[in-house]
């Protein structure tokens, strides 16, 4: 990395909060990428098999970028973090760890997530912490394809057959409240927001709701679940029973061969 712009000097508290934030961002990417990868060889058509694998690969690329930023802060090793932390140490949202479900669940979840990620990256592009801004500019260019793809699939499913519409609505009902957790700040994030290092999730949430409501309700004719859109109080250290088996599968080879250098 050749830094061309002077970088903000972070306080110790900011460094600790930023480490938590970068890890949370990376964990969401890693876990959702694994769920996407579960369709490899099983997607309804070959093109979608490839598409989900592509999306998963991009998300892993983003995770590597975030964890690379963390390395700059604390010298941690991205591969160690991904492959040797247990479920209780992962800080992904519960939205990302839920089983892949049917095609509608997969597409609705990915759409809700991609819309969030694209907006987060767009705003993070003006972070006062230059290395984060660089990563955000890079990742956003890739994320736009995910969002276009999943937006189209949600539309296709919602306006397709009675059965596809029913499944899409069911998926939305199940996932909607989980999506709220994407906007839950990590400990100390307020200080990062105040310093202009990361986007303000409250403002982001308003933009996100506008974008996804226009698509889901306006274009696709789906009904948004009633009630306020808020996450429950449980933090990112609380997981469903689905995360541990996911990690067991994902980490199996690395844990069996911890010293392997070439895969």
């Amino acid at each position: 990395m050749t830094a061309t712009t002077p970088t903000l000097t972070l306080t110790d508290a900011q460094i600790q909060a930023l480490i938590r934030k970068l890890t949370a961002l990376a964990d969401d990417e890693i876990v959702l990428a694994h769920r996407g990868g579960e369709w490899t060889g099983h997607a309804p058509i070959l093109e979608e098999d490839i598409a989900l694998a592509n999306i998963a690969q991009d998300e892993l690329g983003h995770a590597a970028l975030y964890l690379g930023l963390r390395t700059d802060l604390d010298g941690s090793q991205p591969d160690r973090l991904a492959m040797f932390r247990s479920a209780s140490e992962y800080t992904n949202t519960r939205l990302t760890e839920l089983p892949k479900g049917d095609w509608a669940v997969t597409m609705v979840r990915q759409f809700l997530y991609d819309a969030y990620e694209a907006l987060w990256l767009e705003e993070a592009g003006s972070s006062r912490y230059a290395p984060l801004a660089e990563v955000a500019h890079k990742a956003l260019r890739e994320e736009k394809f995910h969002l276009q793809h999943t937006a189209l699939w949600v539309e296709r499913l919602a306006l397709g057959t009675e059965e596809s519409e029913r499944r899409t609505q069911t998926a939305l009902n199940e996932l909607w409240s989980h999506a709220a957790q994407l906007f839950q700040p990590v400990a100390g994030e307020e200080e990062l927001i105040a310093a202009g290092i990361v986007p303000d999730p409250a403002a982001l949430k308003a933009r996100w709701e506008k974008l996804v409501t226009a698509h889901l309700q306006g274009k696709c004719g789906l009904t948004l679940p009633r009630g306020t859109f808020t996450s429950d109080d449980r933090g990112r250290d609380h997981h469903t029973e689905y995360l541990a088996p996911l990690l067991a599968e994902m980490q199996e080879v690395a844990r069996q061969h911890p010293d392997a250098e070439v895969w």
Partner: protein
């Protein structure tokens, strides 16, 4: 690569020679263009007898990054330089606008629709227009928004009926 067979050391390797060597390094996934054609090489610095090359990745999850890094190092060593440093940068981020005009034409001849200009909003629910690399028609359908590599998607031309790959505009 055999060491020590190069011409008795040009003590100061010529930056132009380094660029020329790098322009022979093919993109691992689209060998019809080089990494220089793709706009991935950002800077060549010659300092004493050492050479440092800065490149930028096309896609962050590109599995070919390690190969590219190694190929750059090998190409520079091939000039008889032993002290080679390969660095990467994300700033400014690589865009398909960095692809050289001549390389865009070679992509088209190879059957890959070159990317449309990438400027404009990055958050859009609609894809950009693409023309068929064979007959030039815009009467094309995207059959898959992702393709065999991260940088491409799949189309069919409704004018000449040929399927083709198109570069994403990033």
């Amino acid at each position: 690569m055999v060491m020590g067979q190069a011409e008795p050391a040009a003590a100061y390797p010529d930056p132009a020679a380094v660029w020329a060597a790098l322009s022979q390094v093919p993109d691992p996934e689209i060998p019809v263009v080089s990494i220089v054609d793709m706009g991935m090489v950002r800077e060549v610095k010659v300092d004493g007898e050492g050479v440092s090359v800065t490149f930028t990745p096309t896609f962050s999850g590109c599995p070919a990054l390690h190969v590219i890094r190694q190929s750059i190092e090998d190409a520079v060593r091939g000039l008889g330089v032993n002290d080679v440093e390969v660095k990467s940068t994300l700033t400014p981020p690589w865009t398909t606008d960095s692809i050289l005009p001549d390389a865009r034409e070679r992509l088209r001849e190879y059957g890959i629709a070159p990317p449309a200009p990438a400027e404009g909003s990055l958050i859009s629910l609609e894809p950009e227009p693409t023309s068929c690399p064979r007959c030039g028609s815009f009467n094309v359908r995207m059959t898959a928004s992702f393709g065999p590599t991260l940088c491409k998607r799949l189309y069919v031309c409704d004018a000449c009926k040929e399927p083709f790959e198109g570069f994403k505009s990033v």
